[in-house]
Amino acid sequence: MNHLIWKLHRSQAYFAMGALAAFIVILLVTGVVMADDYHRFLATCALTQSCSAGQGQLYSGDGAIFDIVNLTIVVPLLFGLFWGAPLIAKELEDGTHDLAWTQGVTRRRWLTSNVLWCLTAAVVWGAVISVLVMWWRGPENALGSPFDAFDQQGIAPIAYAVFAVALGIAVGSFFKRVLPAIATTLGVFVAIRAAVGVYLRPHYVAPLVKTASLSGPGSNPPAGSWLISQGLVGPHGQFLGGGLVLNDLPAACRSVPGVDKGSLIPCLTSHGFSNALTFQPANRFWEFQGLESGLFLVLAAGLIVLSYRRVLGRDA
C-alpha cells in the first residue's frame, strides 16, 4: 500500500517539501535578525520604560514577511483542498478505485493506509510550520499578544490541518469529482473555522472584565491579553455598550462636536465615565489552544468515521 501511495502522491510530496523548505529558509533568516533587533530593543527600552510601545515599530519594513507569516493561516486549508479532497474523489473520478479495490488488499486497508499517510503529512507539515511561526513570532508575542496569531501558532494549526484533511477526505467520498469536492471543502472549512473563531473561542472560559479610565496609563488591557470588547460605563456603574448613544451622555458632553475624541473623552472622564474592558488574559493562551484543538480533533474524528462508512459501504 505504501508503495502505491508514494507512487501516486510523490509529486505532491516533492512540491510540499520544496515549499516548506523555502518557508523554513525565509523564516530562519528573518527570524534571527528579528530576535537580534528585539534583544537590542529590550536593552534600550528598559532604560526609558517604553517597552510596551515597541510593538509595531520594531520591525517596520518587514511587512511582506509578516504577511507571509500571517498567511500561514491558510496552510491547513491547502492540505484539505489538495491532499484531503482528491484522496478519494480523484480515484472515483478516474475510475481507478475499480483497479485499487480489486487488488489483493481489502478496501478497509486501502483506506486506512491512505488516511494515515494523509493525516501524518498534515500533522508533520502543520507542526513544522506552527513551531517555526511561534519561534519567529517570539519577540512579537512578548511585546504584543500570542492571541494575535492564535490561528497560526501553538498546537491549533496542527488540529486545523488534521481537520481540514479529514474534511477533504469525507467530502471527497461523497463526490465523484475532484473540483466540487475541493470547492465544498473550501466552503465548509472556512465557515466552520470562522464560526468557531468568532462565536465560540471568546467564550471557552468566561472572559475577565476590567474597568479602566478612558485614557491615559491603565486604560489598556493587561499586557499580552486578548481584548474581546470594550464599552462605556456610566458614573453609576451602568454598562452602556460599545457604541455611543447620544442620550446616554451627560448634557455637557453632548455639545462636544461630533467625533472629536480629543475633547469628548476628557469631558466624559470628568463626569465619572469609565471604560469596561472584556478580555482573555495571556496566560490562558495554551488552555485555549488545547480547547480549540480538542474541538477540531473531535470534528476530524467524526469526519474520518463518516469517510469509512462511505467508502466501505459504497457501491463503487
Partner: protein, 303 residues
C-alpha cells in the same frame, strides 16, 4: 442449499440490484461451470456491468445471492486474490507507466506473476516506461489485461474490454486472452455487445435483456437448439408444442421465425435452417424490444 457451489465458477439465485426505484439487474439466476470462457451479452443498459460489479464485490446486491468459486463475493483478501477484474474503459493511473503498475500489483497481491506479465507485455511491444495516458487504447487494454492476469486469479472478469478498440487491437486483445486461457483452468467472463468477436473466443453465453437473464448455456447447446423456420404465413397459435418462438417477422405471404426447438420439427411446410450465435442473440434482443413496447412476444412484426 444442497448444491455443490464450488463446482460452479459463478452461481446466482434471484440476484438483483436496484438504484433508487430502478432495477439495473433483476431476478438474475445463472450457473456457469468452472473453466469456461463465458460471453456476457445484452444491449446497453441490460445490467452487464452491474452483474460483473456484484460478482467482483464492488457492489452489494439488493436482492438474491451470488457465489463466485463457491464463495459470496465480498471484500476479503482471500476472495480478492482469487479474482481478476478489468473494469469498463480500462481504468489505470494515467500518469504512471506500465512498469509502475506492475510494481504496484506486485506490492498489492500475494500470487503475483511478475515475469509472466512482463514477458507478455514485452512480446506485445508495450512501452514499459511511458505514462499509460500516452499509450494507445489497445496498449492500455493489454496493460489492464496483463495486470488482471498477473494476479493469477481463478476467475477473470472483463467488462467491455474491446468496446473502444479498433478491429486490429480487438483481435490482438482477444488473441492474448485466448492464449492466457489456453490449457489452464481459468474461468473467464467477458462482457461485450460485439457479438461477432465473442463467438470465436467463448464457449458459454449469458444473455441479459431488460435487466433479466434470457439465456445461460453452452454456446454449442444454444446453436443446437435454435433454428430459423421459414414458411407460408399462418397463425402462431397453432405451432407444435416443441417450438418456442423467440422472434417472428412476416411479409405478405411468408412467415420467418426464430425458434427454440426441444425436439424434431415435424411440419414439412417449414424450411429449416441453422442460425449463428449472433442471429440468435439478436433475435432475443428483438424479442426484448417487443416486450418493452408492450407487445406480446409472439405477435408479428411487419418487415
Amino acid at each position: 442449499m444442497n448444491v455443490d457451489l464450488g463446482a460452479s465458477a459463478i452461481r446466482t439465485q434471484g440476484l438483483g440490484k436496484r438504484f433508487g426505484s430502478n432495477w439495473a439487474l433483476e431476478d438474475c439466476t445463472i450457473d456457469v461451470p468452472r473453466g469456461r470462457v463465458t460471453a456476457l451479452v445484452g444491449p446497453n443498459g441490460a445490467g452487464k456491468t452491474t452483474l460483473l460489479r456484484l460478482l467482483v464485490g464492488l457492489a452489494a446486491p439488493s436482492a438474491g445471492d451470488a457465489w463466485v468459486l463457491g464463495r459470496p463475493p465480498v471484500q476479503t483478501e482471500d476472495y480478492l486474490d482469487s479474482i481478476g477484474y478489468l473494469a469498463q474503459d480500462v481504468p489505470l493511473y494515467r500518469r504512471l507507466t506500465a512498469d509502475d503498475h506492475l510494481r504496484l500489483g506486485a506490492h498489492l497481491n500475494r500470487n503475483w506473476d511478475d515475469t509472466g506479465a512482463r514477458d507478455r507485455l514485452k512480446r506485445l511491444g508495450i512501452p514499459m516506461d511511458r505514462a499509460v495516458a500516452k499509450l494507445s487504447g489497445g496498449q492500455r487494454a493489454q496493460v489492464g489485461l496483463g495486470l488482471a492476469l498477473a494476479k493469477q486469479p481463478q476467475i477473470l472478469m472483463l467488462d467491455e474490454p474491446v468496446a473502444a478498440l479498433d478491429p486490429l487491437a480487438r483481435r490482438e486483445f482477444l488473441a492474448s486472452l485466448t492464449e492466457a486461457v489456453a490449457g489452464g483452468d481459468l474461468s473467464v467472463v467477458l462482457s461485450s455487445h460485439l457479438l461477432h468477436d465473442l463467438e470465436r473466443v467463448c464457449d458459454h453465453v449469458i444473455l441479459l435483456a431488460s435487466a433479466r437473464t434470457q439465456l445461460c448455456e453452452e454456446i454449442d447447446d444454444v446453436l443446437a437448439s435454435h433454428r430459423m423456420l421459414v414458411g407460408p404465413k399462418r397463425p402462431l397459435t397453432g405451432l407444435e408444442s416443441s417450438i418456442t418462438v423467440i422472434k417472428s417477422t412476416s411479409t405478405s405471404n411468408q412467415l420467418r421465425l426464430v425458434v427454440r426447438v426441444d425436439g424434431p420439427v415435424l411440419d414439412p411446410s417449414w424450411e429449416i435452417s441453422e442460425l449463428g450465435l449472433e442471429d440468435i442473440i439478436l433475435a432475443y434482443m428483438g424479442q426484448d424490444d417487443l416486450q418493452s413496447s408492450g407487445l406480446h412476444m409472439v405477435e408479428e412484426v411487419a418487415s
